[in-house]
Structures are given as C-alpha cells and as structure tokens.
C-alpha cells in the first residue's frame, strides 16, 4: 500500500458512513492515481474523467472573466455533495463524493487538513 493509499484510507475513516468516493486525478489525463468508490453505482473512473473536464473548463472560464485561479468546485445534487479541489501545483485535483447527510463544513475542514498530505503522497 502506497503512502497515498494509506492517506486515503485515513481520510475515508474520518468521513465515516457518508463516504461515497474519492480519487486523486491527473488533470491532463483525467486518470486517477489513487482512490476509488464504495458505491457500485458511482463509477470512480468515469467521475475522474468527467470532473477533469469540469475542472479544466472552470479554470478557463474563471480566468477569462478575471476571477483568478480556481481552488475548488462544489456540486450539490439531491443525492450527493461532490467536491473537486486542485492540489499542489494544480496538475492534480482531488475529488470527493459524500452523501447529502454529510456535514459540508466538516468535510471542507477535513479536506483542508489532507490536501497538502495528498499532494506530497503522489508518486513521482
């Protein structure tokens, strides 16, 4: 188990029963380097590819209208919260999906704690 896998496991444990999926994804390729989904209906590889496109478009759109660099994108659906956050130099992003029962404020605080650790844990 890599350092990043261990960190992801710790993160999952902190989220608890509301956890659905998390992946650390290369922005350019849209491929996950670590993570996975515990919900068979939520395809982590598909999510990684799709949110890679979303993060690239968000970065481009916000830059064009002078809003500066994108930090994260939070999507709320009737089933889930999905947060995608750029980490490190922005070449990777970290995507987390949790149920609507999760406490959004707590999730963001936990993500703040782990973001730099995840970046350091990416194999290079």
């Amino acid at each position: 188990m890599t350092k990043l896998d261990q960190l992801i496991q710790q993160f999952r444990n902190e989220i608890g029963a509301d956890f659905i999926s998390t992946d650390v994804v290369g922005v350019d390729e849209g491929l996950s380097v670590a993570g996975g989904s515990i919900d068979p209906n939520f395809n982590a590889a598909d999510a990684s590819a799709r949110f890679s496109m979303i993060m690239k478009l968000a970065a481009k759109a916000c830059s064009k209208v002078g809003m500066g660099k994108v930090d994260e994108n939070l999507t709320t659906t009737d089933k889930a919260y999905i947060i995608a956050r750029f980490i490190g130099d922005g070449s990777f992003y970290w995507e987390v999906a949790v149920t609507r029962n999760a406490t959004l404020g707590s999730l963001r605080v936990i993500m703040n704690e782990y973001a730099d650790k995840f970046w350091d844990g990416i194999p290079r």
């Binding site: 799709r50 759109a61 916000c62 709320t76 999905i82």
Partner: protein, 244 residues
C-alpha cells in the same frame, strides 16, 4: 412558412417575443400609417431593423409605439446586416421604459401591464436581484441567465464585473456539470459553487432548468452559508416572477 396579420391582433412586442423565443430566422415587415419597417431575426435574435433611413435599436423603440397596422412575416430570410446586438428582452424592456418616460402610452390601456407584460416582469426580476444584492455578504454581481448563456436580468456592484461575460462563460460550466452528474447517476443538480482565489461563484437552476440564478461574491468578505441560503430563497421568488 409565413404569417400575415394585424397589430390589433398581435402587438409588435408580442411578435418580437414570439420570433425570438421560437429561435426563428425571419423577416418581419410592418406597415403603419404609410410607413414601412422591416425587422430581421436570426436564430432567435433580433439582428437588424430598418425604417426609412434609420437602422438599429432606435427603429425598434419607435415601432414598439405602433398600435395599428399590418404585418407580414416571412421565415427563412436572413438579415442583410447586423445593426442590433442587444438581446430581445433588453430591447423590449428599454422600449417599455421609453414609452413610459415619454408618456406615449395610450390612455385607453389601464396599465402598462396590459401592453408589455413580459417587459414588466423583466423589471420585477431586476428589482428582486437588486434587493438580493443588499443581502449577500461580499456581493459582486448576480444575474438570471438562460441556458443559452444570455442574461435576462442582471445586477452588478461595480463596473469591473461584467455579468454578461461571466454568464456566457459559466453557463458552459453549469451545463457540463449538469450533464456529468446525470451520466454518473449522482442525482439531480441543485447548485454548483466554484471557488477561486478572488471569488465565490454560485449557480442554482430555477425550476424547469431553462434558467439559473448566478451570484458572485468576494472570496475574502463573502460567506458561503449566506450565499447558499439566499440563493435558495431568491430562486423561488425569481421563479414566480419569471415571464411565461
């Protein structure tokens, strides 16, 4: 396919709205008191207007005051040039405002609501956005935007924020997020919040998903909870005030 009629049966504002909402490409010729005006629609936009030697927006404002005359609509005819860039709802709103200011409203009508109900509803949307701007912490700008990326109402606290440019860019993002979560089976989207180094940008669909409310707030002074709560409250109000 063409259509002919009388302005008593269908007012100029209704003709414009009808052609734009149906995304038509067409030529509309209107005869009134010996004058002839020609309007050209291109894929739902009013692109060009001619009246004698005049062209552009001013022609539209003038013919909006015409209450009698005949019209002839021919579809499939493209505009020979573009003299109008403002969106159709903005034109109708401005036209209604000018009529009101110049007291050209025919007294036989009891209220402006009878003439341009759609334009009046636009004015209500503007009022609601203005009210919301006073409640959003760190407020920068807000808009009600169609899924075509065009604002139907907007408000901005400073000149550096361009609601039209923001809407055009962010609509693409919202549509991509919407289609992505649907394909992932992750449910039906309620809102999307993008956080940048400078700003929070929240987008929330109005019921029916044809329009959405976008709010931009300062990253340093804005408050996420405040934005999300207000967006829920005001989405309901805006939905009720929307033209149908």
């Amino acid at each position: 396919m063409g259509m002919k009629g009388n302005l008593h049966d269908m007012a100029v504002a209704d003709l414009i709205q009808h052609n734009c909402q149906d995304l038509k490409t067409a030529q509309l010729t209107i005869q009134h008191s010996g004058q002839q005006a020609v309007l050209y629609f291109m894929e739902g936009n009013l692109a060009h207007a001619v009246l004698g030697n005049q062209t552009g927006e001013e022609v539209v404002y003038q013919i909006l005051t015409w209450e009698d005359g005949n019209f002839d609509l021919e579809t499939g005819i493209k505009p020979p040039k573009t003299s109008i860039t403002r969106n159709w709802s903005g034109l109708l709103f401005e036209g209604a405002k000018r009529i009101d200011e110049n007291e050209l409203v025919n007294k036989s009508f009891q209220s402006e609501d009878n003439i341009y109900p759609e334009a009046n509803k636009m004015s209500k949307l503007d009022d609601i956005l203005k009210e919301m701007s006073n409640e959003v912490t760190g407020y920068i700008a807000c808009a009600v935007v169609g899924t075509d990326g065009i604002n139907i109402a907007s408000h901005s606290s400073n000149k550096s924020a361009d609601p039209e440019a923001i809407s055009a860019q962010m609509t693409q993002l919202l549509k991509l997020v919407d289609s992505s979560v649907e394909k992932l089976g992750a449910g039906s989207i309620e809102d999307n919040l993008t956080t940048t180094e400078n700003a929070y940008l929240l987008m929330r669909f109005l019921p029916g998903k044809q329009y959405y409310l976008s709010i931009a707030a300062n990253r340093k002074t804005g408050n996420l909870g405040n934005m999300r709560l207000l967006s829920k409250m005001y989405t309901e109000r805006l939905s009720k005030a929307m033209p149908h």
